[in-house]
Amino acid sequence: MGRIVLDQVSKSFGDVEVIPPLNLTIEDGEFAVFVGPSGCGKSTLLRMIAGLEELTSGSIAIDDQDVTAVPPSKRGLAMVFQSYALYPHMTVRKNIGFPLRMEKMPQAEIDKRVEAAALSLNLTDYLDRKPGQLSGGQRQRVAIGRAIVRDPSAFLFDEPLSNLDAALRVGMRLEISEMHERMKTTMIYVTHDQVEAMTMANKIVVLQAGVIEQIGSPLDLYHKPQNVFVAGFIGSPKMNIFSGPEAEKFGAHTIGIRPEHTDVSMTSGTWIGRVGVAEHLGSDTFIHVHDTGLAGMITVRITGDVSVKHGDTIYLTPQAEQIHKFDAAGMRIE
């Protein structure tokens, strides 16, 4: 079990309110991702759930039990830190077994559980090494192993992949996703990387300045961003967002169109522009178009390889049904 309910939770450091009161429910077995730019309060929120930060007001309940005043170790949560936070003087075996040792579990039982966790994480050969002798990815696995052995009601991940290189990050992302599929345990995952959020989450919580901008499934956020911030934050490359007379034609203050929802032609179209940089990825081509008179730069994405050169004149046509419309306050208009 692991249903986590935040009720009017807020946090201030001195006079600075970093998280205004917010409500949030994470259902049992869900993979929830807190995503937002750095400094948006997502890590603070996670640390409050873990019990490492005190709440300024409000309450947190896990499985309908108020844990606001319960010390971190009694909340039944396990956390994986960005720096891994392995104990440098202990072997991998001791590291993974540490929480069990603190519970005064018999040594035979500890050994059994550590071996099992190591097996599932491919760490068996490294059990007698110290963290300093492991690579980044292995350290990350040890940190996850230390969380798994406790059999927690929920896992908390605080930007666990940001210290890994790009290739390893993709691999670990898959492993964590698979771990979730297998264990069906609630996971809360904090990241600033919207790709991680989109690929892993059942439920994404987009935060900005401590305020929840939108909660929803990855595709919800992609297809129906509630406001301009979410529209710009989710999706890669970023959505093209602009205001002005062109937006008013669509009956909105601001409109947004994703790079992949713009048709490109060399001969005719709705908007005209000049090609800046074309990024050829093989599978896709990203073209950055200047001088459209709409926004500083419009990015379009074309599947496959297209031969365009710097300075070419290009015509863009948005797919009308894919245009996102927002009012003057930046809220979505249906």
Binding site: P72, S83, H89, F98, M102, E103
Partner: protein, 312 residues
Amino acid sequence: MSDRKLPRLLQTPAVLLLLVWMLVPLGMTLYFSFIRYVLNNLRRPEWTTPSPSNWRGFGNYEFVLNSKDFLLAIQNSLFIVCSILFLTIILGILIAVLINKSFPGQGIVRVLLISPFFVMPAVNAVLWINMILDPVLGLQGIAVAGLNDLIEGLRQMPVLGGFFSLWPQFEPISFRATQTSAIAVIMMVTWQWTPFAVLILMTSLQSEDQQQKEAAVLDGASTWSQFRFLTLPHLGRPIAIVVMIQAIFHLSLYAEIEIVSRGNGNKNLPYLIGEFANNNIGAASATGIFAVILANIVAIFLLRMVGKTLME
């Protein structure tokens, strides 16, 4: 080839200087330790100038080994050094952990804690032996007298007086006496050098990873377990450094021993050398060679210990 020769050539003066600096005194000490060489002897004036014709072989070493103070000096040297190390490390860890927490007036407290380290050893010894440990005029004498007065007062109480009359009178301890002077030296040097341990250990504590501690909190570690399994291993290396540096300094303690008891019942090797050197340079040199050997044995032990912690 020449690109190797030039750097070596440039290093040569420094290396030579260091070698001369080290080897000449050592060589002279060795030489003096094998000849009869005294500063003043009316019957044998030829011994007052160092000369190979006064060759004595291992006679000086035999003389030192047979002198009644030699074993005591070695024992005392080791006893004082080990006691000071033990006390400064324990106190250093406790104080460092205590003041590592944030509290109002932190800066002032830290500066005050470090200040004993800036007192000169001789001044430190004079202050302690005269103003604190003196059985009559020092704080100790005043405290014991006050305690005795208090008990005297309690004896006059109606019911409990009978109980207190069973208590003995307290006697102040004289720290200049043969049996206690080493204790006095240990106390004053511990007071002076604990700040050094605090300084190094505190610096190390500040570099301790806070996320590890948070992870330990989530893992259910109590404050004691966090200290035992995270902080103490983290302090292993700085502790080894403190031990090594202090051992080097405390093997050569002199001022404190001179001031507390003039070496009565409390000589260490440097003090013994000093005593011999009043007249018998040959014996002093032989003792000096023994001191070099002792320092090397201690250093090998300490280097092993430091090496071991560095390996982990």
